[in-house]
């Protein structure tokens, strides 16, 4: 028998260690400590009811357990075999107690569809994929459905592009199907350029066959015989596994000439990108594959009409593809029931930043930001205060406290001033300065702008310079107007999605954190304590004992003072590294 105690740093971190200790003590008293083991675990993702103790093998799930409860768990449950009623979870709707955790997977807020095989199968062994229904969707499409019914299924499922734009996938396939041509192409966008995002890489590394199968289905549905995966060269493991998977699929007759004896030919080749963000934009991506400069062109014509080599081309994202075999196997209705009406299915996010459980997660559309950050993410690190969450990468924005209960879907996020993007989700706490965050993203866009159109090339650079000026403490009130005006000009006049969205981080932080901008400009203060020029370190005379620790640690020798005398920091020389504050044992250094 085992007692699992949640040791996640999320919920009530401090109590957990005490619970394990108390359980061990209670077991010892009853002489059961050899037979029953107390084991600490990571977060159960149910922090609102934590701390949690789970009893194995009967799966009893106790919630809100306190160290004082150890005694009764041992006495009642373990010795007498009776469940401890008062610690069971009570279903708020039915008003009944649930004792078996197998019956309460409602607290499991994630559903893994696109990630269904990641971390489950060996990606280098096609048999493991086949053992989990692999390639049966393709078999069904080739044998039963045909192109029209396949496209119809995609439409009914409500699947929208996971690469950021959220365009309905079925509709896109239909366009490519209807446009007549001697040659057509399928392209998988594996460029994944958002800083911090790694959803697509994980899928390709963990389940390459799902993408191969889906691309082949896509080829059959639109009438293409060649698929291309545009993947960044800095994903060597994904490339290696994808290549291996392609070989195995060919060997089995699931790819290549006469796929599964159907008479349909389909091949997949890899094209390597050099890691430019703009090459994730579909027209730039296609130009890059043609050997031209990776610059976008005006749409229309859309790739479905004139794409690779001027032929009808369907471009979809890796995660979009990974959903497709499941939709065919389980049916459009099954898929459409998950999520929201207008955003069906799930979305994979790379949850990062100041949350306890950073990781790769997949949640149904319509899950709230609060559930993601506080339940799955286990809350903010070190007990700090939540400040903002950034979604949509350089094209997205920062959402705040007031958006926490917004269900995540394509439309809600846009309405709130951000966007779904490809799935980066960065959580920020009280120590993050929003002007600096905006500056970080602008720095990225300036670097990644291809330079083709002026608003993006010059405008973003100017935006960056103004933000920099503000963080340096040289901002003037007019700068805030300039930021606003320039942002709207860039958004309206840029050629591609990069420029059209690049001011979003500025616009959304100005909208949601206006006081912070004002404070930087008018009071020359950065409350988060992150803009070095807007803060200074001072020694509190009453607390300083003259131990000289700070002076010895100062890398620029700007602290003076005799032993046992109050020290002083020379503000002219100080580089604000914070060493003095770190070493002082007497709390005698403060930031003003």
């Amino acid at each position: 028998m085992h007692l699992l105690v949640c040791g996640g740093s999320g919920c009530h971190a401090s109590a957990n260690g005490d619970i394990a200790k108390a359980l061990n003590e209670a077991l010892q008293l009853s002489g059961l400590n050899d037979e029953i083991q107390v084991v600490t675990t990571g977060c159960f993702g149910f922090c609102e009811k934590g701390p949690i103790v789970k009893v194995l093998p009967d799966n009893t799930f106790y919630v809100e357990v306190q160290p004082e409860d150890a005694e009764i768990i041992v006495q009642e449950h373990i010795i007498k075999g009776r469940k401890v009623e008062k610690l069971l979870y009570k279903d708020p709707e039915k008003d009944e107690k649930i004792s078996d955790s197998a019956k309460m997977d409602f607290y499991k807020k994630q559903i893994r569809i696109a990630l269904r095989n990641c971390g489950v199968i060996n990606p280098e062994n096609i048999d493991e994929y086949i053992a989990r229904e692999g390639y049966q969707a393709l078999g069904k499409v080739l044998g039963e459905l045909g192109d029209q019914k396949t496209i119809e299924t995609m439409k009914q499922s409500g699947l929208r592009g996971r690469g950021g734009g959220g365009f309905p996938t079925g509709l896109k396939w239909q366009f490519a199907n209807t446009n007549q041509s001697d040659e057509k192409y399928v392209v998988c966008n594996a460029d994944e350029g958002d800083p911090g995002a790694f959803m697509d890489r994980s899928i390709l590394e963990g389940d390459p066959h799902s993408v191969i199968e889906a691309m082949t289905i896509n080829g059959y549905a639109i009438g293409a015989n060649l698929g291309l995966v545009y993947i960044r060269a800095e994903y060597p493991l994904a490339i290696k596994r994808l290549k291996k998977a392609l070989e195995q699929a060919k060997e089995y007759g699931l790819l290549g000439k006469d796929v599964m004896g159907s008479g349909f030919d389909f091949d997949i080749q890899l094209r390597y990108g050099a890691g430019a963000f703009v090459c994730g934009e579909e027209t730039a991506l296609i130009h890059s594959m043609e050997g031209q400069r990776g610059e976008p062109t005006v749409k229309p014509p859309y790739p479905a009409e004139s794409g690779f080599r001027g032929k009808p081309t369907n471009v979809n994202n890796v995660e979009t593809f990974a959903n497709i075999p499941v939709i065919i196997n389980k049916g459009a209705d099954w898929f459409a029931k998950i999520g929201n009406k207008k955003s069906t299915g799930t979305k994979v996010f790379a949850l990062a930043g100041k949350v306890n459980n950073v990781g790769l997660i997949e949640v149904p559309m319509g899950t709230t930001l609060r559930e993601v950050i506080f339940d799955i993410g286990g809350g903010i690190k070190d007990g700090k205060k939540f400040k903002a969450v950034q979604t949509g990468g350089p094209s997205g924005g920062c959402l705040t406290e007031k958006h926490l209960d917004t269900p995540i879907d394509y439309d809600n996020l846009i309405e709130a001033g951000s966007m779904m993007g490809s799935g980066g989700m960065i959580v920020m706490d009280e120590d993050d300065c929003m002007v600096s965050v905006a500056k970080f993203y602008l720095d990225f866009t300036v670097e990644e702008s291809c330079g083709k159109c002026t608003p993006c090339r010059v405008g973003n650079k100017r935006l960056y310079e103004i933000l920099h000026k503000i963080t340096e403490g040289k901002g003037e009130p007019e700068d805030l107007d300039k930021l606003r005006n320039l942002s709207s000009v860039i958004k309206e006049t840029s050629l591609c999605g990069l420029g059209q969205t690049s001011p979003n981080p500025v616009v959304s932080t100005m909208e949601n954190f206006w006081e912070e901008y004002e404070q930087h400009v008018k009071e020359k203060k950065c409350a988060a304590g992150s803009c070095k020029n807007l803060m200074s370190y001072h020694i509190i005379e009453e607390n300083c004992v003259g131990c000289t620790a700070c002076a010895r640690k100062c890398p620029v020798n700007c602290i003076s003072g005799e032993k046992k005398q109050v020290h002083k920091i020379d503000q002219e020389l100080c580089i604000k590294c914070g060493n003095c504050m770190d070493v002082c044992k007497f709390n005698a250094v403060e930031i003003i």
């Binding site: 085992h2 675990t41 893994r112 489950v120």
Partner: protein, 133 residues
């Protein structure tokens, strides 16, 4: 390998493969062995999964344990890499996080040999497609 020619071929192959897996997982076969999966995506490898995989392969060999060690992709638990999953026949799979050589050794000695769980389990926090109605 003969080429797969139809959906029926595939389904047959699936059920053959599936029953092999079942025999292993349910332990009906006296020769059934423990399976350990190591999450070997870029992120896992960067935090030391390769070393753990090598250790497990070596140690299970030396100690004569009937264990198959395989690689898999990302399990999603970036906060606790490297991660491994232990499957003992007839029992639910158990995932461990923050596995170093010492922890891997403890897992072999206690969990694999004696079925005793050890600290560092990562609870499953998601539903699979088959659990989703």
């Amino acid at each position: 390998m003969a080429k797969i020619k139809s959906l029926d071929d595939l389904k047959k192959m699936q059920s053959d493969l599936q029953s092999k897996i079942n025999i292993r997982e349910q332990g009906e076969n006296p020769e059934s062995h423990v399976q350990i999966k190591v999450a070997m995506a870029t992120c896992g490898i960067a935090s030391g999964a390769k070393e753990i995989m090598d250790f497990l392969i070596n140690a299970t060999g030396k100690r004569n344990l009937d264990v198959v060690v395989t690689q898999t992709g990302c399990m999603g638990y970036c906060h606790s890499e490297p991660t491994i999953e232990v499957n003992r026949p007839g029992e639910d799979p158990v995932i461990y996080g923050d596995v170093d050589v010492k922890k891997a050794d403890e897992i072999l000695e206690k969990h694999v040999k004696r079925g005793e769980l050890v600290d560092g389990i990562i609870p499953v926090t998601h539903k699979t497609i088959d659990e989703t109605k």
